[in-house]
Symmetry: D3
Subunit: 133 residues, 6 copies
Amino acid sequence: MKVGRRESFNAAHRLFKPEWSDEKNLAVFGKCSNPNYHGHNYVLETWVEGPIDPETGFVIDLKELKSIIREEISDKFDHRNLNLDVAEFKERIPTAENIAVVAWNLLRARLPQHLHLKVRLWETENNIVEYEG
Amino acid sequence: MKVGRRESFNAAHRLFKPEWSDEKNLAVFGKCSNPNYHGHNYVLETWVEGPIDPETGFVIDLKELKSIIREEISDKFDHRNLNLDVAEFKERIPTAENIAVVAWNLLRARLPQHLHLKVRLWETENNIVEYEG
Amino acid sequence: MKVGRRESFNAAHRLFKPEWSDEKNLAVFGKCSNPNYHGHNYVLETWVEGPIDPETGFVIDLKELKSIIREEISDKFDHRNLNLDVAEFKERIPTAENIAVVAWNLLRARLPQHLHLKVRLWETENNIVEYEG
Amino acid sequence: MKVGRRESFNAAHRLFKPEWSDEKNLAVFGKCSNPNYHGHNYVLETWVEGPIDPETGFVIDLKELKSIIREEISDKFDHRNLNLDVAEFKERIPTAENIAVVAWNLLRARLPQHLHLKVRLWETENNIVEYEG
Amino acid sequence: MKVGRRESFNAAHRLFKPEWSDEKNLAVFGKCSNPNYHGHNYVLETWVEGPIDPETGFVIDLKELKSIIREEISDKFDHRNLNLDVAEFKERIPTAENIAVVAWNLLRARLPQHLHLKVRLWETENNIVEYEG
Amino acid sequence: MKVGRRESFNAAHRLFKPEWSDEKNLAVFGKCSNPNYHGHNYVLETWVEGPIDPETGFVIDLKELKSIIREEISDKFDHRNLNLDVAEFKERIPTAENIAVVAWNLLRARLPQHLHLKVRLWETENNIVEYEG
């Protein structure tokens, strides 16, 4: 049984590699490398897989999962600049792929080991990534 | 090849365990345990996996799948109180997880054995479960 | 300038007129009159119209509008049975139209008089009502 | 007859009034005043009202309307920082309301006078503004 | 009070004016003039405005409105070629604007005179028209 | 890591097997066999799975994936009649399943071998297919 919870956060970011020239950044990342940043309404779907608890009928209490997502993701990423305000992206380009990896790591540390974790992240309506460790 | 069909049903429910006190029900299930019920527009995605029939180009005729879903799910769950009107939930708490299990069992019994079945159920825009037996 | 805020609430209801026989209720309201209730994920869009405050660039602070909606609507309707738990529907059938009127009245009383108010309510993806007093 | 066209742009912004202290900015604008910006996937619906041209069956050729929107809005706002990169917001706080006014002005200047113009802007799924001059 | 109902139909069409050359059709209508047709999942929102009936709490019974839409619109347009199969488009180009006018006329003839009628038609996610007579 | 890109195309089609009588076509395919075609707004989600490139933080540059999808899918299918205008359906019924197979084959040929490919196709909001070779 898998259980999914959808939460969103609104953040600024920029795709930029400091060891490259501005020209190379522009050639590789296009308008995503704009020096003054741009932003997105990110949507994160967190999927947890495990057995149904016969006591409660839940795999995990979604109220609890929501609290964990808010503490680990929303409180750190929402209304922030991912490049400047989030420690995990000091040395990692905040592509959708890397944001998914960071989100997965933060959530994995908070969930019981017997539950499998997958995250799906929408950067826009048309660009999506999925990661399960 | 997988084929999915989306159908919805509107139902009342309540999360409540009769062997627990009202206090414990409230502590575990929160406002979902409200004695007078609340409700949802549930969306059920039914996914069937199998080979394409070379005669028709179909895995399964979606008109037929839709009829099965309407008979097994909509006719039983739509505009009903899951706790009071649906036999399967007399002794099973109608959490999203348990509704998915019941829906899967009802649909499994009606589909040819060589087709694999998965169901995905949205309780709200943000709460989703997935079950494949 | 108009400003809209979308909030949702999940509630049970039943269309039923006590002075009519069960047969007449069934004839007029169909499966919506099911005695044990059914339910919906209602979505309410609250639209406020007025001039932009030159100080803030806001018509109304959406954080404040959100608080008013939560106090007047979510706290009263969410995870409730509209017929049994909400005083306004003791003598009024909770059709989508009447829910919109009640929501409009509750919100109107909390907003400054110079702001025009309109509400739009989705009962399902396909059934919508709109009311502006 | 009204014709609407939906386009999106992804931008960073910050709500901040330079003549106020940081404390006052935080008190009024909350987390939207974060100094390093945050961002959104803005969706702009452009509505044009006028008679149907009996020659073409169009109010306006949507291919042409799309070009105007891309030149006036997408090319100026998409993948930009509204505060730093867009001249119109040098002295105007980029609230959703003000973005709608600026977009309306830019589009109005490009459309024939006999066509009425309205814009609707989604900042998030839940926050919307509408402006018609 | 306004009440809206959303229904969809899937149809083929082509924008083409027989008195024009193929070159002119291509110049004006672009790829929409492809001789072998293309198609859309059209979504029609039908809005009816009037007083709430104090007996039922309805402006109009949505079950009845749905039947009218199915008879007048779905039965005539769904899984059809608008140019070839629908009499109303024999001499009228099936632009979204003209489809809205035809739908409005068909529905207007079936509704009580005291109810105001408006239709909104999505040709794609991004192209929308609205007509109220 | 999986990366998905959503693109749409609008096309006419008809489900029809030339070696069957019109009666049999109608019996099997129902209104989908209408001789004059009907149409859909198809939505194609293309999913590519592989390692993150440590240089760029990308599995695949989505700008590049988008170009491939436009060349292989949109340029061939959009605003076309699948039965008449697309070579791959001369001898293959354009069911959603077969469109997914054809799209997968076209995209597979253009992607590096170490990347796994899956496609998901929406024919309508309610009918979906998924194929991964």
